[in-house]
């Protein structure tokens, strides 16, 4: 990218030590398209190859395979449970940190990144040690693990959402008007971080629907695990199932994003994007590009 910028600069501006590319918007779309196409090729060629290998005829077969319904069902249930648990844990935490302990925000960022750093097997053993007994031996134990895995993404989404509006003043305004804490949270705080909550939901759902390592280590037949196991029986159907999973996840995310953006745009809120929350009224990006 640096090379690209300096080439453009050399053409557009007289050489000079302090010369910086002033604005690159639209000045060399060719490069943009080239990069976009290269990225698209990188992602789309494997998909196309997979589709070609599986053949369209393999798709109806997926639904007749034994274990498909139960694996898909389990993954969707886990996605639901994980999302609910994540929001229940993270929303109050992030709100509390923003309101009362803003000085520990940096520390929170460090803590919440840990699940990405710690190896899955360590997390599994840790969770097994502290998980309540009734969950042991059930696939729902995975939800606990997924809550941990989703924490970095959920925290960042919610943090960005809360930074985009003046939480302290809003809470004080509500309080001066006679609202107690529950009413303030319900009527003022939550509606204004809906966009961020949707982002967190999207990321959590995507994560749960695609997670393989932990489920396979714990020997539970979630959808990704089922696909891999199934591969040993029938290659084409297994590949078709992978594509189908991708499609289902994509559709699910688009539904969440579209619905969220639509309802939030009505009130001038932000656009729901996977990794950023953009507040249009301040024309300021507060998201954390991952």
């Amino acid at each position: 990218m640096a090379a690209v910028a300096s080439t453009g600069q050399a053409i557009a501006q007289p050489p000079g030590p302090a010369a910086r590319p002033a604005r690159r918007g639209g000045s060399f779309p060719v490069w943009r398209w080239a990069i976009l196409l290269a990225a698209a090729a990188y992602f789309l060629i494997p998909l196309y190859s997979a589709l070609k290998f599986a053949g369209l005829k393999a798709f109806p077969g997926i639904f007749r395979q034994s274990g498909f319904i139960s694996a898909m069902g389990l993954s969707l249930r886990l996605a639901l449970i994980t999302t609910i648990l994540t929001l229940l844990l993270m929303v109050p935490t992030v709100v509390y940190v923003h309101l009362r302990l803003p000085q520990i925000r940096r520390m929170m960022e460090a803590i919440t990144i840990l699940p990405i750093v710690i190896p899955p097997i360590v997390l599994i053993i840790g969770v097994l040690k502290v998980a309540p007994g009734f969950l042991l031996g059930t696939p729902y134990l995975l939800a606990l693990l997924y809550v941990i895995l989703a924490m970095p993404f959920a925290y960042r989404s919610l943090d960005a959402g809360l930074r985009a509006f003046d939480l302290k003043t809003m809470v004080e305004a509500a309080s001066s008007l006679g609202a107690g804490l529950p009413a303030t949270l319900w009527r003022v705080v939550l509606p204004n971080i809906r966009t961020a909550m949707l982002s967190a939901t999207v990321l959590t759902v995507a994560l749960v629907l695609g997670e393989f390592t932990m489920a396979s280590l714990d020997l539970y037949q979630t959808f990704p695990v089922w696909i891999v196991n199934f591969e040993q029986n029938s290659g084409p159907v297994s590949v078709a199932a992978s594509l189908f999973a991708l499609f289902v996840t994509w559709i699910l995310l688009m539904v969440i994003v579209t619905a969220g953006s639509w309802s939030s745009r009505k009130r001038g809120g932000g656009e729901v994007a996977l990794f950023t929350v953009v507040r249009q009224d301040f024309s300021q990006t507060t998201g954390e590009p991952e």
Binding site: T169, M170, E172, S176, R187, P191, R194, G268, Q280
Partner: protein, 369 residues
Amino acid sequence: MTASTTAGSGRHGRSGRHGDGMGAPVTLQDLSRSFGAVRALDGLSLHIAPGELVALLGPSGCGKTTALRIVAGFEAADAGSVTVDGKDLSPVAAAKRDMGMVFQSYSLFPNMTALDNVGFGLRMRRLRAADRQRRSAELLDMVGLSPQARSYPHQLSGGQQQRVALARALAIEPRVLLLDEPLSALDAKVRLQLREQIRALQQRLGTTTLFVTHDQEEALSMADRVGVMKDGRLEQVAAPDELYARPATAFVAEFVGIMNRLPGSLLGQDQVRALDTVVPVHGDVPAGLAGDVDVLVRPEGLQIAAAPGGNGIVTDRTFLGSVTRISVRLSGDVTVKVDYPSAAAASLTPGESVQVSLPAAAVLVTGRR
């Protein structure tokens, strides 16, 4: 100073609905508050009469916002009390204090329309939806924003947002209205309009109001009385004209309006010599002051006349409408500003020699800087 003499001077024509909207008396007693090593408030006492608008004026960090936040219930005082209508508010949570507040930053709830914002406090008071709608609409009408009832905050200008915030604060018929620099984020023209609107509404409703600002013009033009704060204490509380004409301390004198400093020397405890004139000292001479002092005089308190071989030379002139402010350099590199009727100021041009003199009126003195 004169505690309640100026209180509620203009509460005519209160609207019927707010018939008993007479504000409550508010007393701040010996309020102290420290943040770490910083004493934000250091024994602040202030009485606000029912329906009175008192402005707390001071430089940033003087504790005025802390005082307001303690009254609102967002901060707790280390010592001292806030009483409204004779009732101590210390144990009362902010949500139960019945105080409307307008904040410096835009504080409208972004997820609600202007109308719903105004109705929020009424909803918290469990007013029926129909009544709530009607009263919110009335309040919006009062601030001239009926056409914007269905707009969301992001669709409103800064001035409109603060007007909705004012309507929202007044909708609950608060016993006390708290204004925390509500105009400082707005541009000059809007600020002026809103200043007048706030004052008119406050007088009409008779709501006891505490107004915090660092803008002296705002304080002087809106308030019944102005309290000038410094280092967590009140330097002086007085009606705007009195504050300007008879500042109690050098700090107040220099903070409010424009003040000249002239070198002078004390003659005993009640007279001072400056510009070769001996004049009486206003008030008490600050403790420990003797000999060389500075004399404080307003631009309109000095006399000036063109005079060859006078004691000063005109360096600059600024046309201010009816008067022209003339900068004069005196001997000893002292520059003073003198206001002179514009109609007669034609001859006082830069480079001209002039005689600046002190009329025989009492002046404030302070330590030589």
